[in-house]
């Protein structure tokens, strides 16, 4: 891998939390390319799982269990050591924007339409949910099917990277976070450190694995396999600054046409992880998609943790010393005991 010769020990110079404009520079990369990432616009995701497949193929990620879960069309269940892209499927009895689910076709002359031949003219094609839900108590009908392709967020302040004791996890010149498999000793510390439940240890080889944002492809000037494969451009790859601009415009556009619940997730450099390198446009609360609503990098509190541990250590030392002082030297009791 290119750039792996950079010493990961420089990671220690990073700030622990807050906005950090130059992650790659702070990690010791000089003259590095702009920070890249993903903008995943879930409003156009069709749940085809091309990203899951492309990721598996390109990165030679092993099989991750062939289960039938009954969770809509989701059988890969969540991100893990052998699932680096995961498409979530959520079925809701709720209209998508102002879309009407139980469309009344009584005024449509189907024979007249048929005489126009097959193929609906593009301007008349509509995305309509396939089957309307039963009416809710207020008589509304509606069904929307949310699909979202989840991935490692390549956090500005990546807890996995901060806590890794071996330096196996490192920050690349592109500002992404990558595990060096030949260094990881499988301690598993990164696993509970990640606030998004992304990285995991693969039982078969004992090492930690996660999305590399196709580090090898980036080095060759290619976009990551998932973004390349995505037929709707739900997964967009590019320089993070540009993606943030595009995302802001997209959310505005959706609001304008009546999709009021469209919102960005992970785009804000002021958030608990300093902003995600891979961020999302969602159509509902993050937890609906299995994402934490307000993730915070655990190492933000590390200085305070060490202070408390220091106080506890001194309490132990001082307490034991005080007990011995009170008891005095053996055989010559000083009589200071209660």
């Amino acid at each position: 891998m290119t750039g792996a010769s950079e010493r990961p020990s420089l990671i220690g110079r990073n700030l622990l939390a807050g906005a950090e404009p130059d992650v790659a520079g702070d990690a010791g990369h000089e003259g590095h390319p702009p920070r890249v990432g993903f903008f995943t616009d879930t409003s156009v995701c069709i749940g085809c799982k091309a990203c899951e497949v492309a990721c598996k193929e390109w990165n030679a990620v092993p099989e991750d269990g062939l289960d039938f879960t009954g969770m809509s069309f989701d059988n890969s269940q969540g991100l893990g050591a052998s699932t680096w892209r995961h498409v979530a499927f959520i079925e809701q009895s709720k209209p998508l924007g102002r879309a009407e689910a139980a469309v009344d076709h009584s005024d449509v002359d189907v024979l007249a339409l048929a005489s126009r031949g097959s193929g609906t003219p593009v301007e008349e094609a509509a995305i309509t949910p396939t089957s309307p839900a039963s009416p809710s108590p207020d008589g509304q009908t509606g069904l929307r099917w949310l699909m979202a392709s989840d991935v490692c967020k390549h956090c500005t302040h990546a807890a996995c990277l901060d806590v890794c004791p071996t330096g196996a996890l490192f920050r690349t010149e592109f500002g992404t976070v990558v595990v060096q498999d030949d260094i990881c000793n499988g301690c598993g510390y990164c696993v509970p450190a990640c606030p998004y439940g992304v990285i995991d240890v693969r039982p078969e080889d004992g090492g930690a694995h996660k999305c590399t944002l196709c580090y090898d492809r980036l080095g060759a000037g290619q976009e990551p396999a998932c973004a390349k494969a995505c037929p709707t451009d739900s997964i967009q790859f590019g320089p993070l600054d540009e993606l943030r601009e595009r995302a802001a415009a997209r959310v505005e556009e959706l609001h304008r046409v009546g999709v009021e619940d469209a919102r960005l997730y992970g785009h804000d450099p002021e958030d608990g992880v300093g902003g995600d390198g891979a961020f999302f446009l969602l159509l509902d609360e993050p937890e609906v998609y299995g994402l934490p609503p307000d993730p915070v990098v655990t190492t933000r509190d590390l200085p305070s943790m060490w202070r408390h541990a220091g106080a506890a250590a001194l309490t132990l030392l001082g307490g034991v010393a005080a007990v011995f002082a009170a008891q005095g030297v053996s055989g010559r009791r000083t009589g200071r005991r209660r």
């Binding site: 540009e242 506890a312 250590a313």
Partner: protein
């Protein structure tokens, strides 16, 4: 299949505004070739459809990936590290105040516990053959790295203290090693709390202020228990005091932590973790009081109290471990506190 070209300096040829629109956006609000629908129902979309935030999850799946650590290895490692670290402090105290039997017993138990904890840690690695990579870098942001270096410094001191004591050789070196181990011991006993707290696991992270005190209290009780178990009644007075002190600190800190944790405190009260925490509390109270009241007269009572204290400390560590696992496995404990935090912030900005 994106039409745009990606170069190292960014995207070329992207066509903004070509993305699919949904809902009435497809027709800019007006459906072509259709009369407006009869009845007033159709305009409901003007109101935001986002319902009031409640606790939801994705099919009940965890938000976090729960630790892959094995309970016996990691909870055992917490327990043995505490026993070793606090034991070294007691050993030095005993040696400096003329209690040679207690000093020797604790030096030996500290070295044994240290060996056991290192073995547990290595056994838990996915790739045990690469355990030496722990000392590949020094990373202050990684409590496991800091801990590895602390153990690397502490181990030889604990070893030298035992060797000199048992061999009766180099007494001055032995004394220096004993004191050095006693100074490093509290770090060994407390860093494991930071190790657990420096994760996204709600039951550990959110208790980061109190957890180190729970751990050193538990460690002191364990070391006091070991001293009660292994020393003659003539020497065990400080052990009784340390056991009482440790139990008091541990119990008070655990209570304070539960108060802080809010809904997450359930994980310390219910299920396996709840049973372990309650057992620990009962055993440590019995051990500390039994030692204090009877340990001066009866060697047997002292030994039994000591064993109870050791068991209590182990129960605490396993209880903390299982509470953490439970809090990571149930999305409720991740989502609810974060929701509350968001709401509070929203309220705050509205008021401010």
């Amino acid at each position: 299949m994106s039409e745009s070209e990606v170069t190292r300096d960014g995207i070329r040829g992207a066509r903004p505004g070509r993305h699919a629109l949904v809902g009435k956006g497809m027709w800019n609000g007006e459906r072509p070739g259709r009369k407006a629908r009869k009845g007033g129902k159709g305009r409901k979309g003007d109101q935001p459809m986002v319902p009031r935030a409640e606790f939801t999850s994705y099919y009940g799946r965890p938000v976090l990936n729960p630790p892959t650590w094995h309970p016996r290895d990691i909870a055992g490692y917490f327990f043995l590290g505490g026993l070793a670290g606090a034991g070294s402090v007691l050993a030095a105290g005993a040696e400096l105040t003329g209690r040679p039997v207690m000093a020797r017993a604790l030096k030996v138990s500290s070295l044994a516990a240290l060996t056991g904890s290192a073995a547990a840690l290595i056994n838990d690695l996915g790739r045990p053959g690469r355990f030496a990579n722990m000392l590949r870098v020094f990373k202050p942001t990684s409590p496991m790295s800091v801990g590895s270096w602390v153990l690397a410094a502490y181990g030889p001191m604990a070893g030298a203290a035992v060797a000199s004591d048992l061999a009766g050789r180099l007494p001055r070196t032995g004394r220096a090693a004993t004191v050095a181990a006693a100074l490093l011991g509290p770090a060994v006993a407390s860093y494991t709390a930071v190790l657990a707290a420096d994760t996204a696991v709600p039951a550990w992270h959110d208790g980061y202020r109190e957890l180190p005190f729970v751990f050193v209290g538990s460690a002191a009780a364990a070391a006091g228990g070991m001293a009660l178990l292994a020393s003659p009644v003539a020497e065990n007075a400080p052990a009784r005091g340390v056991a009482l002190l440790g139990t008091a600190v541990e119990t008070a800190a655990a209570k304070a932590m539960e108060r802080r944790l809010g809904v997450v405190a359930e994980t310390y009260r219910e299920g396996r973790a709840g049973r372990l925490m309650r057992t620990a509390e009962a055993l440590s109270a019995a051990g500390a009081l039994g030692g204090a009241l009877l340990g001066r007269r009866s060697r047997t009572a002292a030994a039994v109290s000591g064993a109870a204290l050791l068991a209590a400390s182990a129960c605490t560590r396993f209880g903390v471990f299982y509470a953490g696992m439970r809090s990571a496995e149930d999305p409720k404990y991740t989502v609810l506190p974060q929701r509350e935090r968001l709401e509070a912030r929203r309220e705050g900005s509205r008021d401010g």
